[in-house]
Amino acid sequence: MTNQHPSWESLVTWVEAGAEGREIAAHLAGCEPCAADAAWLAQTLDAMQGDAAFKAPPDGVRQRAIAAHRQRYPSTGHGKAQRTLPRRSLLYALLAAAALLLFMVVVQRQPSKAAPLVAVTGVEGEVTVTNRDEQTRRVMNGAPLEIGDRLTTGEDGLAIVEFRGNQAAVKVWSNSELSVDDLVVDEGQITALDITCRDGRMKATVAQPMAFTMQAYGNELTTRQGEFEVEYYRDDHSTEVKIEAGELTIANEAGRRTFSEGTELLIWYQTLPGDPLEYPLIYGDETSWRDGEALGLRASQ
């Protein structure tokens, strides 16, 4: 065994090359920590290369499984699995409802300080908000956001923009910018929400049904309910979208198409020969990442 530990980089190269190289092999035989590093690398690279071993079901199959829940639990939220209340409990429930109604009537007569419709939570590092008058302030946990405000996270910044009652939330990673453009409230519930992802990476969760729209780098992303992540790549001006729950409709110059959860997309712009304009291309999920079908590429006139 040689006394000199191999560098991490040389260990990576050694594992990639199929563990050929006697000097490193001899060292690993007598160096438990280095052997553990090599074992981790081998297992991880193996897992990456065997990625298809855990294949996702086709979209149609997944959608049928999701639809089964909709049939069982229609939008009222009362499914077969929910127990019917015993009669005495029903009486208590009615009394409780009456008390709550009375309480609400009393409370509504008092001048109240309502919870903000939009608030910033989970603040870490540098997070600032710039209002319509271009005044910038640092924000703390619980700070409200107004329509027209732009939230920016610094190098070490992280924040969650939460919409009333957890109806929707957007996690904003570092070096990102989000603006709240518009929202519609009906009987205390947000029914429509427009935001813009101006830079960086964010994940939107729409927990309750609403008309949710996010503008992101020339793309309009809309959903009724679900969860998706968006990230902008400055290097090649491409946008990555991962749909983790629900359906997401993406519209841009190339057209409009709806994708379901589990789909990962890369959207970027390509200049056609002899065409000064750029048109967006959307490539499908990861399996067809490199040579997937172009979505509605508009031919140059």
Binding site: W8, E9, A53, A56, P57, Y73, A81, A207, G262
Partner: protein, 195 residues
């Protein structure tokens, strides 16, 4: 104010509660979390994609039926692994009408050694941990690792350099640093990496 809701970061228990309350997004997130595990088990047992699709549907319906009972279940993946294996047996038995009555006996009689669901579940957990860690990496690292290791054949460093606008000489050291970051994401900062 309540905690923010990020479906993919919620516990199984939370997603089950929400699914029971009629939240279809939570149910979709629950399916999304385990769909690769459920769908892969019949495929690993040598069944066709159409059989795997049928079994996937059956298992999802069983899950939907049992949501209330599974509310406090600690190991959802194990339960799904065992349930999926049982459905593979039922499916095969229904087709052949001649198999043993017990799934364990059936799987022992198979000519090739089939993996026990617990082994598949462990591999799936590693797969999931890997992808969760990859998702936390900065975009450049994630793209580099995916392009280098996930596709076949892998691109040459020259191709990668052009694609990612990186000097060819920096790709090797960068990919090693990205793998180091990946390991920290998976195991924490204290995990040793050869210096």
């Amino acid at each position: 104010m309540n905690n923010p809701v990020l479906l993919s970061e919620q516990s199984d228990r939370w997603l089950i509660e929400q699914s029971l309350a009629g939240n279809n997004g939570a149910w979709a997130a629950l399916i999304g979390r385990y769909e690769r595990l459920i769908y892969s088990i019949p495929l690993r047992y040598g069944m066709s994609e159409s059989q795997a699709a049928d079994i996937f549907q059956d298992v999802c319906l069983i899950l939907l039926e049992r949501l209330e009972q599974l509310r406090d279940h600690e190991r959802m993946a194990s339960w799904l692994g065992t349930t999926t294996r049982r459905e593979c047996w039922r499916h095969t038995n229904r087709r052949d009408r001649a198999g043993p009555d017990d799934p364990d006996a059936f799987f022992e009689q198979q000519p090739s050694a089939l993996e026990h669901p617990e082994v598949i579940v462990e591999a799936w957990e590693r797969y999931t941990a890997l992808h969760q860690a990859l998702a936390k990496l900065e975009a450049r690292c994630r793209t580099l690792l995916k392009r280098l290791y996930f596709g076949y054949p892998p691109p040459t460093y020259v191709e990668l350099g052009e694609e990612l606008e990186m000097p060819v000489g920096s790709i090797g050291p960068t990919r090693a640093r990205c793998l180091e970051k990946l390991r920290h994401e998976m195991h924490g900062e204290n995990y040793r990496v050869t210096s």
